[in-house]
């Protein structure tokens, strides 16, 4: 066997980039995009002002809270984990935020910061237990869901905390130019998430943990720290969603966000992210969230029983996972 194919003497001429049709088709964005287009066209037929600027902005505004929750969920699912606590963390965070301002008379900025800290703290709590406690994410975050929900109810006595200064509503219903603030915030968060995932080493490490955690760890990836970081991010996006929610409702709602984890997971898997981790794109999640929003909106317009909508959503998640399942051999 000749040795001259190794080291030093080169095998020049690797193609630098071979983007071809097959690769484009295999991109995880294709199916979600097709879904989005199909559903949009159907909606366009059903309602003639669906494609109007004001309706599109309206749909995006409705999508924003779930869309932001789904950003954190994407990070978590990319590592092969799951975060069931997002809805409860959001509610708790919003309750504390309102409580600090209304009950304790703190300035609005302190209230907002307190709410964000709550989300961050619960994210760290999840992360530490999953990464260092080596406990399954699904159980840890299920427990956190119960804890956060319970603490929120205890703190507020079960009633919404209202009486917030009016400027808080800017986060929920304000506009910059013609564009709703929540939509701007959502796009901003997606932009940051994209940079983190696609342009930093941290992002690559997130993907590598989902692809093969053992290999990543033995190659020198600090897997525990990365896991801590992603659950913290998820806690933080839950708290950011809480800011919008609080602004929209003008109160801290301890009962808000029940079942929101389902919608966030739905957005992620409908966006083409593999539930086993390692594969997926953040903008897929955005498409998934918008798609889900249009479906919700459409089902309402057509007048389908809201309870039936949850059933339909459940089946859509199963369908999305079923389609995505073939990607892993």
């Amino acid at each position: 066997m000749p040795h001259d194919t190794t080291l030093g003497t080169s095998v020049r001429g690797y193609k630098k980039m071979n983007v071809n049709l097959r690769q484009v088709i295999r991109s995880p964005l294709v199916l979600p995009l097709v879904g989005l287009i199909v559903v949009s066209v159907l909606m366009g037929f059903a309602s003639e002002n669906f494609f109007s600027v004001s309706n599109i902005l309206n749909v995006l505004r409705q999508v924003s809270i779930n869309g932001i929750l789904a950003v954190g969920m994407t990070f978590v699912i990319l590592t092969g984990g799951i975060d069931l606590s997002v809805g409860a963390v959001m509610a708790f965070s919003g309750t504390i935020c309102a409580g600090l301002i209304v009950n304790m008379g703190m300035p609005g900025a302190v209230g907002l910061a307190g709410g964000l800290l709550v989300g961050l703290g619960l994210g760290v709590f999840n992360g530490v237990l999953v990464a260092w406690g080596r406990m399954p994410a699904i159980i840890v975050t299920l427990a956190t869901m119960g804890i956060a929900r319970g603490l929120g109810l205890i703190y507020s006595g079960g009633y919404p905390i209202s009486g917030l200064p009016s400027w808080i509503s800017w986060f929920g219903i304000g506009r910059i130019g013609n564009i709703p603030v929540p939509v701007i915030l959502m796009f901003l968060i997606y932009g940051i998430a994209w940079v983190l995932l696609e342009r930093t080493a941290f992002g690559r490490h997130v993907y590598s943990i989902g692809g093969n955690e053992t290999a990543a760890r033995l190659s020198g990836v600090k897997t525990q720290r990365i896991k801590l970081a992603i659950y913290t991010i998820s806690g933080l996006t839950s708290a950011l969603a809480a800011v919008i929610l609080t602004g929209r409702l003008m109160s801290g709602q301890p009962n808000a966000g029940v079942g929101f984890e389902l919608d966030a997971i739905a957005a992620v898997v409908m966006g083409g992210t593999s539930i086993a981790g390692g594969r997926g794109l953040i903008f897929g999640t955005l498409i998934g969230a918008v798609l889900l929003g249009i479906l919700n909106n459409g089902l309402n317009l057509v007048g389908i029983n809201p309870y039936l909508q949850d059933v339909i959503k459940g089946f859509i998640i199963l369908l999305a996972i079923y389609i995505g399942r073939g990607e892993r051999r």
């Binding site: 066997m1 071979n18 080493a201 490490h205 590598s208 290999a215 033995l218 525990q224 051999r329």
Partner: protein
């Protein structure tokens, strides 16, 4: 008993079996030989109905059969003991043997007494005595294998396939296994025996079928061939595995790594060794002797009770592999697919997984252009054969996958590399390339610890050899003392008294 005729199998465009014949008689041990990738395992999977052949016929007792799945093959009397056991770890031997076809009494409850009795009968038939009611994990590897064989026999297997059964056994256990096989042969079972150890073939087998690159080469009696002739049939030409020449390291070569004390468990021997600049230190020993565990413990990836070591004369202690990486120690794990690579990712993503520090832009961001040029450069240096850096790892051969792992660490300018079974699952030609690559690395000032189960590799490559037994190093040999006899004696007895 069993005739397989002109079996063909293609995966997509790749033809892995090109008209293979295999004929096994009742009451014989038939060896199936061939290099890695010759098609042995594929052929056996066809026999067991796990995959279906593209073309060809299977006859059992003269009757043409085709199996749509494994269950049908079992029903026809075919039993297979896989390389990786298919036992459930926390169930007992009896429960494993009757898994999915448990005997039940009239009430539909498990008839545990009947199962135990039947299991006992079968094990007695094999002449094996093992605890039947404890979890399988508490049994030795050999005992687990006997349970596998017993399981196949409890299904009335008349054709028994053993895929590399001796790979993880000690010599005594191998002898025991062979006695069991002889007993089965006497009872008229047709046995297909796959092994890479030629001396075992001569010990136990009656006839041999050789495959090469998916083609049928020959079937002959064991008594008609010798070692050299077999190797020639397997590789197609007489070749001797060539190793690059070892360098002359002066006595005062600087020490890069000194491990003064390393103990895995309180009862294990305390290992101590050192690694010099530019040398290849072999870690030899039987499977389970603690070679890999010691290397992992060094990097903080395996539990240990006691550890003190110096890197370049300074005391160090690693809590996780990431610390080792920073200090310049890289690990190329034993099983590339499970521990080394992310096979669903591209070559580029795999190479740069721990390298992002190298092409950082503005502190946090990845310089994509630089990542690409670095990847291509690293691929060229080790000679990865692929279309480009975007190819997925699972489209590459074993040898090329291993080169990707090497490229990853090369890209990182490591000082010490730990190769765990560097050539496992790699064909002869690619092996030579990997050996050559390792020597090139040491010439560049790298030091290598090479863990290997293949003695020729240990002898051909190592400047010094640490021999492991029972969880730690029992001896270190160098120079002319590196012989297979000495190493084998140390690994099996721990001392040299009985050496010839």
């Amino acid at each position: 008993m069993l005739e397989m005729n002109r079996i063909r199998k293609s995966f997509g465009k790749v033809e892995v079996l090109r008209g293979v014949d295999l004929e096994v008689r009742s009451g014989e041990v038939h060896a199936l030989l061939g290099e890695n990738g010759a098609g042995k395992s594929t052929l056996m999977k066809v026999l067991c109905g796990i995959i279906s052949a593209t073309d060809g016929t299977i006859r059992i007792n003269g009757e043409e059969r085709s199996f749509a799945n494994y269950d049908e093959a079992i029903a026809a009397g075919v039993g297979i003991v896989f390389q990786e056991f298919s036992l459930i770890p926390y169930l007992s031997a009896v429960e494993n043997m009757f898994l999915a076809r448990e005997l039940t009494n009239k009430l539909g409850l498990l008839d545990r007494k009947a199962m135990r009795k039947r299991a006992h009968e079968i094990l007695q038939l094999l002449g094996v005595d093992l605890p039947m009611n404890v979890p399988i994990t508490t049994l030795s590897i050999a005992e687990q294998q006997f349970v596998e064989i017993a399981k196949a026999l409890s299904l009335d297997a008349r054709i028994l396939v053993l895929d590399e059964p001796t790979a993880t056994l000690t010599p005594t256990e191998v002898e025991h296994l062979f006695n069991v096989l002889r007993e089965l042969r006497r009872k008229g079972v047709a046995i297909v025996f796959i092994s890479h150890h030629l001396e075992e073939i001569f010990q136990i087998c009656d006839r041999i079928t050789v495959l090469r690159d998916g083609e049928y080469i020959n079937t002959c009696n064991v008594s008609d061939v010798d070692n050299d002739r077999l190797v020639e049939m397997m590789v197609g030409r007489r070749i001797e595995q060539s190793f690059p020449t070892k360098p002359d390291l002066p006595d005062d070569t600087e020490l890069v790594l000194e491990v003064d004390e390393l103990q895995l468990k309180r009862t294990d021997p305390i290992s101590s060794f050192h690694l010099r600049k530019g040398e290849i230190l072999g870690f030899s020993g039987l499977v389970g002797s603690g070679r890999t565990e010691t290397a992992l413990a060094m990097l903080g990836a395996h539990p240990h009770t006691n550890r003190s070591m110096k890197l370049n004369g300074k005391d160090v202690s690693f809590a996780e592999p990431a610390d080792g990486l920073v200090a310049g120690i890289g690990l190329l794990p034993e099983s590339r697919k499970e521990q080394g690579l992310i096979t669903s990712f591209s070559i580029m993503r795999n190479i740069s997984i721990n390298n992002y520090g190298k092409y950082r832009k503005g502190r946090f961001f990845i310089d994509l252009t630089k990542e690409l040029t670095c990847t291509v450069e690293a691929m060229e240096r080790v000679g990865v054969k692929a279309n480009g850096p975007d190819d997925r790892l699972d489209t590459l051969s074993g040898g090329n996958q291993q080169k990707v792992v090497v490229a990853r660490w090369l890209n990182h300018d490591m000082k010490i590399l730990i190769f765990d079974e560097p050539t496992r699952g790699i064909d002869v030609g690619a092996k030579a390339e990997i050996y050559f690559l390792m020597r090139k690395l040491t010439e560049m000032g790298c030091s290598i610890i090479m863990i290997s189960s293949e003695l020729p590799e240990i002898i051909g490559m190592s400047d010094r050899v640490c021999v492991f037994r029972g969880g730690g190093i029992v001896a270190t040999v160098e120079g002319d003392d590196i012989t297979s006899e000495k190493i084998m004696t140390y690994s099996t007895t721990g001392k040299l008294e009985n050496a010839a």
